[in-house]
Amino acid sequence: MKKNQAIKKTLIFILCLILAVISLMPFVIMIVNSTRSTAQIQQHAVSLIPSVYLANNLKILVGKSFNPAVGFMNSIMVSVGVTALATYFSTLTAYSLVVYEWKARNAFFSFIMAIMMIPAQITMIGFYQMVYKIHMTNHLSMLILPAIASPSMVFFMRQYMKPALSLEIVQSARIDGAKEFYIFNRIALPIMKPAIATQAIFTFVSSWNNLFTPLVLLTDQKKYTLPIMISLLRGDIYKTEYGAVYMGLTLTALPLIVVYLMLSKYIIAGVALGSVKG
């Protein structure tokens, strides 16, 4: 019996090793190839030994329309804006649902649950037409402002706030003369910090990775976000520049990989938390 258990354990471990290699392999090839010349890649596309053409690949990459610095800055602006607005206003909305007793409260909460799964992508035609009409297509604010209404985050925040925030604290702050808005900012927000941190990571990442909305709205190269920059690598101008393409992909993926490995503990705990609450 014990021997069987050991064999089973070994087999599972080997399977996990294989899966881990499959998870890593594409990224390893990508990173190594970003240091190799196109000629080297054409000779042998897989190698585990880095070469010395990193700077050269970068030169070819930036020499064409790819401008990672601009994409990076725009993506930072959009993602930071989206994360800040979404977390703050979702917490505020959740606060209104948890702390106050108002007539439409239950209806409002049901409504939020009903709309939270509907993806923005599906109504993009109307959104585009609206933004086009008011001449705001190349404004990053049109990617940021919709984050004020993030139904699924309101749902999460409400579920988290209900047990975490005791109404007695709110009540005693009132007796001390604190204004409602002050109580929210100074008492409720700090209590919600763990939930906000988790949601902030995921909102930032999904905003950072979002391709569809920017692709529809942005036509000005100076406003491109990183995923649109990446999509340029698919174009004809890089058709034969393998080294430069791998370089571009590495530039966009490596920061995410590094940040992920640093925060992995929190990120994975966050995924788990989201599902338990849901």
Binding site: I29, M124, N209, V216, L226, V245, L273, S275
Partner: protein
């Protein structure tokens, strides 16, 4: 006294939810209604914003979409690619989740494995699509290089012009990107089951297989359904990977509904009215699915929940006894 104080504070409830409501009206509700409206108009052509309602047949755009062979192909591809990625994804995730939570043994390096399995999910889908396009490149992509070197192929093969292979690569990418996520969710679901139930199963002499089928699975039913519905809604909107991997080709083999709508409206055609009609058809489908999820997630009565748990325990004991009797 208490009632009075809560009454006077009620206006803050409205006030604090106002920003959400305004943003929702402008950026969600209005575009939705507008999309629905455009579906009944003649709006097409670059830069056009004026339209009139269709007079002869208000549903002409919807009819066009539903009879369009490309839409049919796109819909079939979307469903097929979702089903074929979800089944292995959930199977692998369940298996790993069961192993990683098994109380009788601990896999060395569990934490590291979890981190690595989840990693592809965090990387920009656009990057992954183009990376896989490069990996399967012809004649000298990494996959060809490896297969020729290990003697699996005698000469490089052009994978990306074959319809089935292109579809299967997308299915693989989707599975590869999502099984780690699903696994983490299922693990947290299993860890949320009261340990007493597992202890009871152990005392009663249930083996690993019995424990999995009779204790673990029934207790994570809600989370499994949640995963199913959210994955399906995401799957129906699949866009980034098929759009950038092969631009929907070869021969529309990787064309999804998302790519279909995008191409119709924003790349070349500017046929907003038909794209809006296609969007609304998908919208209705997704609303039905979320209604189901809504029903699933509604606040349950605590007592009712406890009753269900007790019933499940009872049922499990009965089943175990039956199994033992056999």
């Amino acid at each position: 006294m208490k009632k009075k104080s809560s009454f006077s504070y009620a206006r803050y409830g409205y006030l604090f939810s106002l920003p959400f409501l305004i943003a929702f009206l402008i950026f969600s509700l209005y575009p939705t209604l507008y999309t629905a409206t455009i579906g009944f108009t003649d709006l097409k052509g670059i830069g056009k914003t004026t339209w009139t309602f269709l007079k002869d047949d208000p549903f002409a755009n919807f009819k066009w979409v539903l009879t369009s062979p490309t839409f049919k192909t796109a819909f079939e591809n979307t469903v097929k690619m979702w089903v074929c990625n979800f089944v292995p994804q959930i199977a692998l995730a369940l298996l790993l989740a069961a192993w990683f939570t098994d109380r009788r043994f601990k896999i060395p390096g569990e934490g590291v494995f979890k981190v690595l399995f989840y990693m592809p999910n965090i990387i920009t889908a656009a990057t992954i699509a183009i990376l896989f396009n490069a990996l399967f490149g012809y004649p000298m992509g990494p996959v060809n290089d490896l297969m020729v070197r290990f003697g699996l192929l005698s000469e490089p093969y052009n994978f990306l012009v074959k319809k089935d292979i292109a579809q299967n690569i997308i299915i693989f990418i989707q599975t590869w990107m999502w099984y780690g996520y699903t696994m983490v969710i299922l693990i947290s679901g299993i860890l949320g089951i009261s340990p007493e139930i597992f202890e009871a199963a152990e005392v009663d002499g249930a083996n690993g297989w019995q424990t999995f089928w009779l204790v673990t699975l029934p207790n994570i039913k809600t989370i499994l359904l949640f995963t199913l519905v959210t994955s399906l809604i995401g799957g129906l909107n699949m866009f980034d990977i098929p759009k950038l991997f092969l631009l929907g080709g070869p021969d529309n083999a990787t064309m999804t509904v998302g790519v279909f709508i995008y191409n119709l409206a924003f790349s070349g055609g500017y046929i907003y009215n038909r794209a809006a009609a296609a969007s609304m058809i998908m919208f209705v489908l997704i609303v039905v699915l979320s209604a189901f999820l809504f029903y699933l997630l509604r606040d349950r009565d605590e007592a009712k929940l406890r009753k269900i748990v007790r019933q499940q325990e009872k049922e499990y004991r009965k089943k175990l006894k039956e199994a033992a009797a056999k």
